[in-house]
Symmetry: C2
Amino acid sequence: MKGEVKNRRDKIINAFKEKGYRITSQRLAIFDILAKSDEHPSVDMIYKQIKKEFPVTSLATVYKTIVAVKELGEVLELGFSDGCNRYDGQKPYPHPHLICTVCKKICDPDLESLEHVTEELRKESGYKIDHHRIDFFGVCPDCQG
Amino acid sequence: MKGEVKNRRDKIINAFKEKGYRITSQRLAIFDILAKSDEHPSVDMIYKQIKKEFPVTSLATVYKTIVAVKELGEVLELGFSDGCNRYDGQKPYPHPHLICTVCKKICDPDLESLEHVTEELRKESGYKIDHHRIDFFGVCPDCQG
DNA sequence: CTGCATGCAAATAGTTTGCATGACG
DNA sequence: CGTCATGCAAACTATTTGCATGCAG
């Protein structure tokens, strides 16, 4: 098991250690939430959740920690211009999202046909495509009717 | 020619008139830029451009006007979390964009295969898909090498 | 021990808003 | 001429930053 990564949480911890970044209880709490939650939490959601079990944490620390996790490529930031960025610590690489415009739930659809789109674009544009951001907005089954 | 819409500018003007919104010289200047520019300008770019020929215009008016044009569905807002939203007055409906990460140029690629993706998603997710936001990031030919 | 991480508060930046004045229709 | 649009400045909000203190390594 030596050096083996069991889960996303450990992956993030290792990335921090390799960089010589310190492991603090605040950071661990943030890693936990990023690694475990599949709801694509916002900074505020993370902050509120941490406050419950660990009341002595500041918003600034949450922000600073997320910046570091981002730098290490261990979280995907879904920036929204209305000031409610969301974070995906489970799949830190670009992938499409499906967003309910009513309950704001965000989930990860499987979209095999997406490969073709990227390929088509690469061929025809002459761009060196690096990453993408693909969001579909609609009303989820729970919020319909 | 009566009532006929010659171009995007007139389309926007008509939309304003139908709503009983007034046509001012500031608004006309903003419509012009939205309708003519294919560079997906930011509010600031619009503001600076207007200032040249029409020095007595305020940023607030640009913002307020764009809000109105958005409400009428005559401009597409490309919101970015880093606070540099861009606007597309030529094609006010959702469509994919190709963004150069070096020079920040934004262009509209043709992507026929995108239809399949939306269809696949509609079928498999159960969501009522309303709109989407699709950005590809990379380095354009001009900025390569 | 040494320096990086924390918490607090102040600073930042894009956008929005309130209000008095001005001009469209 | 009444009402809505404008310009200014202040308010807002998510995020960032500076600095003194605290704790990881």
